[in-house]
Amino acid sequence: MPKYQNDEDYDIHALLETIYLKWGYDFRGYSKASITRRIFFFLKEEKITRIPELQYQLVRDKALFYRFIRDVTVNVTEMFRDPEFYLSVKQNIIPQLKTYPHIKIWHAGCATGEEAYSLAILLDQSGILGRSTIYATDINRTVLDRAKKGIFSDSFLQQYEKNFNNSGLTGNLSDYFEKGYDHVIMDSRLRKNIVFTEHDLVIDHVFGEMQLIFCRNVLIYFTRELQNQVIDLFSESLDFGGYLCLGGKETLDFFSGKDKFITKDADNKIYQKTK
């Protein structure tokens, strides 16, 4: 049995090994189908014909490498994605958070920040935003810069407003932004308690004692081995009694340390660390 399916598979593996050796970014545990698609989009964008050519240039061209990170690690998100999830957070997690004098939250893989602002709105309506800190992290510096600005295109506004209205919140989403010509600017009050910072889930370390960790639709991009490693990192970063929230297709079912958690809401993938 050959180790690689075909030449293209070999090229991808060789590229990822090279990036790790040269730049320290480790994509070797990413799901292959998705990263392969992204690499081919990048080739097209850069008008490079073959992966070995990209590999050669990535070793030598720092600017190209930064564009590679920018394009290949970008994730798509939306405000109040899965409204019933936010409703569940409000009902199952917020009451406990209210009992803490200071609340530390890690939003891992925040991408352009839509969900970090969503969470800030929920905390605001619960009266605890002022004593909360949301550490919103991502591997991709470019998306973090956009997240910090809190400026979002208005093309999905209708969807976001619909999500907001189904999330068990009061008022309107428009209470939290100013409308520009083709964009919205989020209320700077929300931003004050969000710290946007670079963090790579694969190579960076534990992130303080958190009461809540959000990491939604990030683990799906990883193989099961890497998922286990990252969930272990979350487990280590959580206080006893703290909560871990995953995306709809993600679960602790295959995590070796799943005994440390109880399932608070199976449908919405909310877990509590109890050991």
Binding site: M1, K3, Y4, Q5, E8, D9, H13, R28, G29, S31, K32, A33, S34, T36, R37, N75, V76, T77, Q159, K162, N163, N217, L219, I220, Y221, T223, R224, E225, Q227, G247, G248, K249, E250, T251, F254
Partner: protein
């Protein structure tokens, strides 16, 4: 790093099905005509309301003599089973015989996109792939079907005359030298004849 190898025995062929407008009814008819047991795996992408959870696998499982599962993350494909997409997630086939998901941007205004499924299936399984394009009112699946052909797989298309929405079958026939065009009865016979 652990590189998983393909379990050649888990399924014979990989049948990937794309359905959109009118797709639930078409799938129900098609799947009910599949002879049990079968040793190919079936992966279905169907366009559904992105803001709703789908009860499709549950509904289908109740009426079919085989498992119709909502595709799980990194779920291994097994012959004789059917895996259905989840609204708002792209569904991809990995080279190690598992399924994966992404929330990447819409493709053909769709998530899940049929093209994404077909494309990744073709990349992973080449000539073992059979792509089936059913009813739909858009062009999703056509590019992916072309890719399946390029990699040596086969493409079957629902007869546009029978399809509730003919745009999707027509779009595929338009750009792909398809292997077979037929109604749901005939498509089921073709699938039952796969070895």
């Amino acid at each position: 790093m652990n590189i998983s190898t393909v379990n050649e025995d888990a399924f014979s062929r990989l049948v990937v099905i794309g359905a959109s407008w009118g797709g639930v009814d078409a799938l129900r008819v098609l799947l009910q005509k599949i002879t049990v047991p079968f040793n190919f795996a079936i992966v279905v992408v169907i366009h559904q309301d992105r803001s709703k959870k789908s009860a499709l696998s549950q509904i289908f499982t109740e009426i079919m003599p085989f498992s119709v599962l909502e595709a799980g993350d990194k779920q291994p494909l097994v012959g004789g089973e059917v895996y259905v997409s989840t609204p708002n997630y792209h569904l991809l086939v990995e080279q190690n015989g598992t399924l994966s998901h992404t929330v990447d941007r819409l493709v053909n205004y769709s998530r899940p996109s049929i093209d994404v499924l077909f494309h990744t299936a073709a990349d992973a399984y080449g000539d073992r792939v059979v792509a089936v394009v059913l009813t739909g009112a858009n062009k999703d699946g056509a590019e992916g079907a072309r890719c399946v052909k390029q990699r040596g797989g086969q493409v079957f298309v629902q007869d546009p005359k029978e399809a509730e929405a003919k745009a999707m079958p027509l779009a595929t026939i338009d750009i792909v030298d398809v292997d077979f065009i037929g109604d749901l009865d005939a498509l089921a016979s073709k699938l039952n004849a796969l070895v």
